[in-house]
Structure formats: C-alpha cells, structure tokens
C-alpha cells in the first residue's frame, strides 16, 4: 500500500469524476491548441497540467491535514515520489498529444518542462501556506509577462526550460517541505467553505496581523447579542472576518490592477484585447468561486434564535449580496474599460448579466445541500468547474450570440432581465426547499 500513498487517494468519487470530466476536455483543448500552432499548444499544455496538479494538490492537502500525516514515517517522501510520477504521466500524455496534433509539432522537451512546472505549481498552490495568497499575484505576473513579451515561449526554448526546471524544483520543495506538513497538521482538516484561501490566515507569519484584527471584523459584530435578528445582521455574521477581509482585499487589489491595466490608454494600444477580456473573465470567475466557497452558513451557528424562514431569508440575501458587492467593487474597472473601449459597452453589459445569472449556480455547486459523496469538497470543486465551463460557454453565447438573435438593445435588456429573474427564482425555490426539509447543520446551502 505504501506504493499507493498518493495514487490510492485519487481513487475516490472526486478523483474519478475529475478524470472522467476533465480528461476529455483537456484532450479537446489540446487538439484545438495544436491546430493553432506549437506556441499556443505549449500555453494550453501548461494550463492543462496546472489543473491536474491543482487537483492533485487538493488531494494532498486533504491527506496532509489528517492528524496522522506528520508522524507517518516516510509519508512525505512517498507522496512526493508518487505526485511527481503522476506529473510525469500527465506531461507524457500532453506531450504525446502535442506530437500528433500540433503542426509543426511542439518541442517535446519544452512541453514536458513547462507542463511539469505548471503541474508542480498547481500542487504547491494548495499545499503550501503561502500558495493561495501568492497565486493571484503569480497569475498577474504571468499575464503581464505574457502580454508584454512579444516573443512566445517557443522562441526561447532553452531559457523557458531552465526557468521551468527552477520553478518545478521550487514548487516541489515548498510543497513537500517539513514546514508545509507541520503547518498542515497543525491547521487540521479543511473546513467546509475553504478552498482557494484555505488557511492562509493561519500562516506562520500571520498571527500578528490576525491579532490586530481580532474583534474588529464582522465576526466581532456577530458576537454581539442578536437583538432584532435582522436579515442584514445575519448576512454580516455569516461571513468570517478573516475570509471576508481577505476577499475584499483580493477584490480591491485585483480591481486596482484591472483599472490600471485595462483602463490605461497606454496599455490599450497593446493588440491583445482578447487576452485582456479573458483575464477579466478569470477575475470574475475566481471571485465567484471564492465567494461561493467563502460562505459560512448561518444555519450551522449554534444557539441562534432564528426560525428556518429567517435562515432562508439570510441565505437568499447573502446570495444576492455576493454578485452585488463584486460588481460594485469592480465597477470602477468596468467603467474604465467601457470608457477606453466604448465599442465593447454592450459586451460588458451582457457579461455582467451573465455573472448575475450564473451566480446561484456557482453557489449551488460550492455547497450542494446533499450528503454522501456530494459532500466531498473535491466533488464540489468539480461541480464548480463544470458550472464554470458552462458559465464561460454561456458568456460566449450571450455576449456574442444574443445580438444576432435579438438586435434591439431594449429587447436584449428584457431577455437578460428575465434570465436574471429566472435564475433568482430558481435559487429561491432551491433554498426554500432546503430550509424546509434539510437538517440545519451538516450541509451548506
């Protein structure tokens, strides 16, 4: 069984679902990328490997946070070897597709090196204390580098392979260091609702900041007597202070970047508008994911003198509040984008509508009100991924396809408004059913 230290962990509903859902998607993505040339293929190969690594990272995180993980002899080494082995298999798979799909074929060594680096980074992102915090900044750096560097990776293979090897080594070392595993064991099992930001407030260097903030956030407010038990108070108290602050900080930070980067006329001259739109979608997508994972159900709090109906009102208001807050914070950036690109104003509007339409689906995927294998966070993550893909598809269809079907702006607004209302009605019905029939603890709507 020691040989299955990591492989054994993959054989569970979440692992099987991930393999079944993502592998075909990855193959299609890689084939399409190959058709567009080796340069594009290398980028997509990196992305695919990153997702495989990220899934491996979540699995490793679950293991590392078990109470036995620290004392289990040779455990880190066994996990490291098998995680690296899986990475090699994924890279070989990707490289093989590159050899047959890209014309001319992408250099195998380059694909493997970039792929393994992305895989290792994906794993480290979930395992290391700083990973989830650094990730947005790493992504920003990547996007910036990708946008400003005229020469793609494929034009400098030696440099790319050297950097990839260094990144791989650094990521693997940090993921499997004794420091990371100490931290994981002390942190304990991943709580429901913690995925992307899992645990970074408890990083070794965090306590000072954390102490300063103690009692100052919404959690502090929630400790006050629940006089009045208003819906607003419930919404505030259902966010944890650290998570809420982290989310706001992330949104603010990314928005500032967005304003600076997308709204700047200097950057507007860069002929990569499509890439910036993709980047904007990423921001919104990640914020939606984080928002949906970041919830803390009001129902799981003990001794709240709330009826089921009150919990329902709180949950629904909270679900409405998420897209509202995100759009509010992003509005300066969106305005800057619209001013800089007036021809894309309608596109931005339709994109915003899709965000609002899809938000309930994200919230459902993050916390399906069911037990058994569906309570597995890995499964929830896959559901989010599936919903995310559907979201991107819908974004594409609505943003580009709707004007073809409905030419009048007013009619488009009506259609989008109906879709927004419809999604909220469905969400209300789902929550109503949940709070009418389900246990108030153990699941999270």
């Amino acid at each position: 069984m020691r040989r299955g230290a990591f492989l054994h962990l993959l054989v569970r509903p979440a692992g099987i679902a991930f393999a079944a859902l993502f592998t075909p998607v990855a193959v299609i993505m890689l084939f399409f990328a190959g058709v567009r040339g080796p340069s594009r293929f290398v980028e997509v190969a990196g992305l695919v490997c990153f997702f495989f690594g990220a899934f491996g990272g979540t699995t490793l995180t679950d293991a590392a946070r078990c109470s036995f993980a620290w004392t289990l002899p040779r455990y880190r080494r066994a996990l490291l070897v098998e995680f690296a082995f899986c990475g090699a298999v994924v890279c070989a798979f990707v490289t093989l597709i590159g050899a047959v799909s890209a014309a001319p074929p992408a250099p195998a060594l380059l694909v493997a090196a970039v792929g393994f680096a992305a895989y290792a980074v994906g794993g480290a992102l979930f395992l290391t204390p700083e990973g989830s915090l650094l990730f947005p900044f790493a992504f920003i750096a990547f996007v910036a580098w990708r946008s400003w560097t005229p020469a793609p990776v494929i034009d400098a293979p030696l440099a790319a392979m050297t950097v990839s090897a260094a990144v791989s080594a650094l990521a693997m070392w940090s993921a499997f260091s004794s420091r990371t595993f100490r931290w994981s064991a002390l942190l304990g099992p991943r709580e429901d609702g913690r995925l992307m930001w899992n645990g970074w407030p408890t990083m070794p260097w965090w306590p000072r900041l954390r102490r300063r903030r103690a009692g100052a956030g919404p959690q502090g407010a929630s400790r006050a007597p629940y006089v009045g038990t208003s819906v607003l108070r419930g919404v505030v108290s259902s966010y944890r202070p650290i998570r809420a602050n982290a989310r706001l900080a992330a949104i603010a930070g990314l928005s500032v970047f967005y304003v600076v980067a997308v709204g700047s006329s200097a950057l507007g001259s860069i002929p990569r508008t499509g890439f910036w739109i993709a980047w904007a979608i990423y921001i919104v997508f990640s914020l939606m994911s984080r928002s949906s994972y970041g919830h803390h159900s009001s129902a799981s709090r003990a001794a709240l003198p709330w009826s089921r109906r009150h919990h329902l009102a709180v949950a629904f208001a909270r679900h409405l509040g998420d897209p509202f807050v995100i759009l509010l914070v992003l509005s300066p950036a969106l305005a800057a984008f619209a001013v800089g690109n007036p021809q894309l104003l309608g596109l931005v509007g339709r994109g915003i509508a899709v965000i609002v339409i899809f938000f309930p689906a994200f919230q459902w995927a993050a916390g399906p009100p069911t037990g058994g294998p569906w309570a597995d966070r890995g499964v929830a993550m896959i559901l989010t991924l599936v919903v995310g893909m559907a979201f991107l598809l819908a974004l594409r269809l609505v943003a580009s396809g709707l004007p073809l079907l409905v030419t009048s702006g007013a009619a488009q607004t009506v259609v989008l408004g109906l879709l927004v209302a419809g999604s909220q009605v469905l969400n209300w019905r789902r929550l109503k059913g949940y709070f009418a029939t389900r246990d108030l603890v153990g699941g999270e709507p």
């Binding site: 069984m1 620290w70 289990l72 080494r77 100490r182």
Partner: protein
C-alpha cells in the same frame, strides 16, 4: 527509569505576544505512564506538539528519543504514536481502509492488535469515517496509534469523548501496552479521577511553566488531607500553621485542610486547637489545585 524519551531545556514557545511555554526544563524517561495535567491554556497541547516536532521552540532546546525535535526523522517518528485531541482522517475512506492505508508505513504494524483493539473498543471497521461520531474517531485514533507498537505514545485528552465503558477499557489497555511494549505514555487529561489509577508520574503545567514534575506516589506522600473536628471551642477563621497548604472547608466546628506532611505535626496541632484530626490521603483531584498553585507555596 530507562531511556530518555524527551528532554527540554529552557524551552520557550511564543505565539506573537502570547507565551505558551515559558522556560520549561523537563526530562521524561520511560517506560512509564506520565500524566500531563494543568488548567485550560496551560500549555499541555503545545508541549505535546513540541515532543513530536510539530511545533518548534522559540528559544531553548527540545530533544525526543535523543534527537532534536527540529530534526526528527522517520526512524524516530515510526516509534511515536499520537492521539490528538481532535483526530482527523480521510473522510472518504472506511475505518478498515484507513487503517490499511496507515499500516503500510509502519514496519511493526500489528494486525492482531488491530483486530483485538477494534473489538475491544467496539469500532466497526466497515463504518465510513465521514459518519463516525467524535468518540468513534477518537477510538480510531487510538487504534492507529497503538498498532505500530510505538515506544512513545502521546495522548491529548484521549478519554474526553469516550463513554465510561470505553474509557475504562482504554485505561486498562494502556497498562497492557506498557507491559507488552515497554512503551512510555504521555497522557494529557482533565479527567483526573480516570488517569489517577493509570499514571505513575505527573507533570503539571501552569501558565506555561512546570509547577510539578514528580512521581504520583511521591506527590501523594507530600500532602495529606486533615479533617478537623473541634472538641470544645470553635475553630479559628483561618489556620496560621505554615504546613497548611489549603483550607478547603471552614466551619465553626469542623474544617478540611490540606497539609504538607513533611512539616505537619498532628499531635501538636490537636493540642493547639483542642480538636480531633482524621488524616486521609489526597487523590489527584485534591492534589490538582495545589500542584497548579505550587509556585505560591
């Protein structure tokens, strides 16, 4: 006493401005069963985490099984079994699968012990971990910790979630393990009545410092309870005798005192206060407040 199991010298652990352990110097030798007691937030769990190397000292030295805790390798870790206060396992496995997964990493995993412990603690090997109660998860942690025949077993509040029957069985089991494996067990608990019959050495922490580190029998010999009954006149409001450590119950005609036996002269006390005195041994529950307040006496 035999092998040095854990040795701390000037061990201090700070979390920002909070000092969890303060200049702790301690030597634990085995085989023995050591009770680690103290009030809430006295540093018990932090000390256990230092023993296994999960937390590292801010200052001072800590060595477990002869190796600095910062450098513990798999050879040492394989000799340590841990039952944390809130054990966590892989929720998608069954109990049996989890144990099989763990067993592959230990050179001395005892399947026979696994079966007997599971039976003794009434732990269903086919049950899903996600559905285990807190007590059953603790039982699983106990089985997982004992099956590799560890030389050092660290138990952080192991009986807190066990029902009375399982608790009794578990404590008897510890005695068997010490006898069979010659292991050293460090058990942290607030259920003093239960561990009293099991432990032979007491380490008491108070506000991060060691307030007692002695054999339980020695501690019991050091103190005694006097039940004082006045014969003719009322007892004083307070006894000023230096050997009186604690005045537990004070009424006009009777009192219950805890005294330091080395200095106490029962005959002189009887004469001085014209009272009858019944001497009774102190149990761990009675000793606890004294041990915690040791610095003041």
């Amino acid at each position: 006493m035999g092998e040095m199991i854990f040795e701390a010298s000037g061990l201090t652990k700070e979390f920002g401005e909070v000092t969890a352990l303060r200049d702790v110097s301690l030597s634990l030798r085995g085989p023995s069963i050591i009770g680690l007691i103290g009030r809430n937030a006295s540093g018990k769990t932090t000390l256990l985490r230092h023993i296994v190397g999960l937390q590292l000292p801010t200052r001072g030295q800590a060595r477990t099984l002869g190796v600095a805790t910062r450098s513990l390798q798999h050879e040492q870790l394989a000799r340590i079994g841990v039952v944390p206060d809130a054990p966590a396992f892989m929720r998608w496995m069954s109990v049996g699968e989890q144990l099989r997964y763990l067993s592959a990493f230990y050179p001395r995993w005892d399947m026979e012990r696994q079966s007997s412990l599971a039976g003794l603690l009434d732990l269903d090997l086919h049950a899903d971990i996600s559905g285990l109660s807190t007590g059953s998860a603790q039982k699983l942690a106990i089985v997982a910790a004992l099956c590799p025949h560890p030389d050092l077993i660290l138990l952080d509040e192991p009986v807190s979630n066990l029902d009375p029957i399982a608790r009794d069985q578990f404590l008897k089991l510890l005695l068997d393990v010490v006898q069979e494996d010659h292991a050293t067990i460090v058990i942290s608990s607030h259920v003093l009545h239960d561990i009293e019959s099991t432990v032979d050495w007491i380490v008491c922490l108070n506000n991060g410092t060691v307030s007692a580190d002695a054999a339980l029998d020695d501690l019991k010999d050091r103190y005694a309870e006097w039940r004082v009954l006045a014969r003719t006149r009322d007892l004083p409001d307070r006894f000023a005798d230096a050997f009186v450590v604690r005045q537990a119950v004070m009424e006009p005609r009777c009192a219950r005192l805890v005294v330091r036996t080395a200095d106490a002269d029962v005959l002189a006390f009887k004469r001085a206060h014209d009272a009858d005195v019944e001497v009774a041994p102190l149990n761990l529950q009675g000793l606890f407040p004294i041990l915690v307040d040791n610095g003041r006496h």
